[in-house]
Amino acid sequence: MVIDVDKCTGCQACTVACKVENNVPFTEPGQAAMGRVISWMELITTVEGDYPNVRIRYIPRPCMQCDDPPCIKVCPVSATYKNPEGLVAQIYPRCIGCRYCTNACPYTVKYFNWYLPEWPQDMQNYLNPDVAVRPKGVVEKCTFCVQRLQKAEEQAAVENRQLREGDYVPACVESCPSGAMYFGDLDDPNSKVAALADSARAFRLLEELGTEPKVYYLREGEWHGRVNAS
């Protein structure tokens, strides 16, 4: 995944799309104030400088799907693991809720079900049937909408072909109105994401920790680059 920070307007459509797609429960205001919101895709906001020279930065933060994830090493029951596609997956029925993985993740992308998740009656019928509703007391996190990947793979198998670019994108990427997010196969040198990840603007969060995140960001400054070039 590549996220162009220059194009992000901070609208949080990705956050909402993610919640709907993945059956993420609502949080009461009191609980939210305690820091118990579950938001697999979270917008990190930083404010820099003093008035009047203030600058706000937005970083949409899904799970980094690290190639060397610190979270899976520490799980005592192998309830979080790297699946064959390279996604960091979570086995809800096995998780014992020790929250060691949430604490070991340097990006703090993991969430815990403090209570049994509940939806208003009207919403019950709109839950995504492809995504398991989590029980209380287990850890959950962004899966890059793995259920969409499974569907796309099945479709490709029916049509007797390989997975193509664009067959599968996560809900956040699909919903971004400013087109700030790109999704594809980083291993394929001809893919758009591979080209973007190679750009001079590309960076990864806390790269120095050696976690090898699979989410690339493009730093702000495309505009300046263009001015200088012309």
Binding site: I44, I59, P70, G137
Partner: protein, 448 residues
């Protein structure tokens, strides 16, 4: 060999008194403790039904006082093995009165420590997944293995020296006959049995030492193996072991003082025991300061931003009152009391020990919470206040421990009777021989 015949003319009757007679004071204490434990059980059932939402935990502070208690209680357990096994192996004669109460401390406090992990789990019902689906790369799994080994080894190590005493009670009273008869394992006090027992005790003392060291090393690795700021530290292993021994000795001193007062054991827990343990506590005080100082100086000097955020939060930020209270409780107060000869007496060591226990609990808290509250990315900083549920369960843990200890001391002699007697009959001569052996020309010295 020491006698295991019915107790002689009541010379050590003070030790057996609590087993034979129970006063009103005991019933009142037990009732109060039971009430606290009962309340904690009700609260625990509530937590089981509702989920961990009833705690004050949140994101990012996913671990709070349950984990603090876990580390703290496992730490206390280090007194038993250390004091008892090391002193036994060194043939330190002053150990005789205190080994049993130290070993008991270890075993009972381990149960409390382990139950705190259980309290912390989101899914207690799935705890056996650690056996069905073990993931050997997880420090938490190492922890389970290590603590289980420790509990097993220290239980055996507590039980072995109990056998002759149990047999003595079996032979001298009719109370709880079936219990003592079963647990005495047919002990008759024959020469062969004594030989085997002493050998077994020595072997267990040797085995239990490395396990004890491993336990708190592995507990520290739960934090140290992650890459989180101020957790990822190479000195955490020895730092935790030293801290564990430190708080363990303090717990032992307090336990001895309570037993001495409650059961009138002034004859056995003498000033010299408190002074010797106080000297050990003083050494550990200095060691604690050394470790803490090097840990914080290294972080400060390196000045890595993500580490400094946690560092600043501890020293001058929201955790500063707790941090400086910890420094006072773990270093300033015990050092001021224990260093001068004059104040290293029974009240002095007890006050220093209580201070150390408070300080060490704070230290554990300050390791767990500030790191979690300050994640690396620019999230809002975490705030954590333990809820009434967590406080109730913590109170239940402390009360539960005291209750278990009180009950144990009513069923088994809390001072090893045969070891005291052995000290009288053989220890004195043996020690004399040993001292002579240290001196040049020992063979020429006449017996005293």
């Amino acid at each position: 060999m020491a006698e295991s015949t019915p107790h002689d003319g009541g010379r050590d009757s003070a030790i057996l008194q609590p087993i034979l007679e129970t006063g009103r004071r005991f019933y009142i204490t037990t009732a109060v403790l039971l009430a606290i434990v009962g309340w904690a059980v009700i609260v625990w059932l509530l937590q089981l039904r509702e989920g961990l939402g009833v705690t004050g935990l949140n994101r990012p502070v996913m671990w709070g006082i349950y984990i603090t208690n876990f580390v703290f209680f496992i730490g206390l357990s280090h007194a038993g093995t250390l004091i008892s096994a090391i002193l036994r192996l060194c043939k330190a004669e002053w150990r005789r009165a205190i080994t049993r109460c130290a070993e008991t401390l270890t075993v009972l406090v381990l149960f409390i420590g382990m139950s705190n992990v259980l309290l912390d789990l989101g899914r207690e019902d799935r705890v056996l997944n650690m056996i069905w689906n073990p993931h050997l790369r997880s420090p938490l799994l190492w922890d389970m293995i290590s603590v289980t080994c420790y509990l097993t080894a220290s239980s055996i190590y507590l039980f072995l020296p109990l056998i002759p005493d149990i047999a003595m009670i079996r032979d001298s009273t009719t109370k709880r006959r079936w219990l003592y008869r079963t647990l005495a394992l047919g002990w008759q006090g024959t020469e062969k049995q004594w030989k085997r027992l002493e050998r077994a005790i020595t072997v267990m003392a040797v085995i239990v030492l490395p396990i004890a060291v491993s336990v708190h090393t592995v507990v520290s690795w739960v934090f140290g193996m992650t890459i989180q700021p101020m957790w990822h530290s190479t000195i955490f292993g020895p730092y935790f072991v030293a801290g564990a021994i430190f708080s363990g000795i303090a717990a032992l001193i307090v336990t001895m003082a309570v037993l001495r007062w409650a059961y009138g054991l002034e004859e056995y827990f003498k000033l010299v025991h408190f002074r010797n343990l106080g000297a050990l506590l003083l050494v550990m005080t200095l060691l604690w300061f050394y470790f803490t100082f090097s840990e914080f100086l290294t972080t400060y000097y390196g000045g890595e931003p993500s580490h400094m955020v946690v560092f600043d939060a501890k020293l001058w930020g929201p955790y500063a009152p707790l941090f400086w209270a910890m420094v006072a409780c773990c270093f300033v107060i015990p050092f001021a009391i224990l260093a001068p000869n004059r104040t290293r007496n029974i009240p002095g060591t007890v006050i220093a020990s209580i201070s150390v226990m408070i300080g060490m609990w704070l230290e554990r808290y300050l390791i767990v919470v500030p790191t979690l509250a300050n994640p690396r990315l620019a999230y809002p900083r975490g705030v954590y206040y333990p809820s009434w549920v967590e406080l109730s369960l913590t109170a239940g843990c402390f009360a539960g421990f005291i209750l278990l200890y009180a009950l144990f001391s009513k069923v088994f002699p809390i001072i090893s009777v045969w070891e005291i007697r052995e000290g009288r009959t053989q220890g004195v001569d043996e020690a004399m021989e040993r001292i002579k052996g240290y001196l040049p020309g020992a063979e020429k010295l006449s017996p005293v």
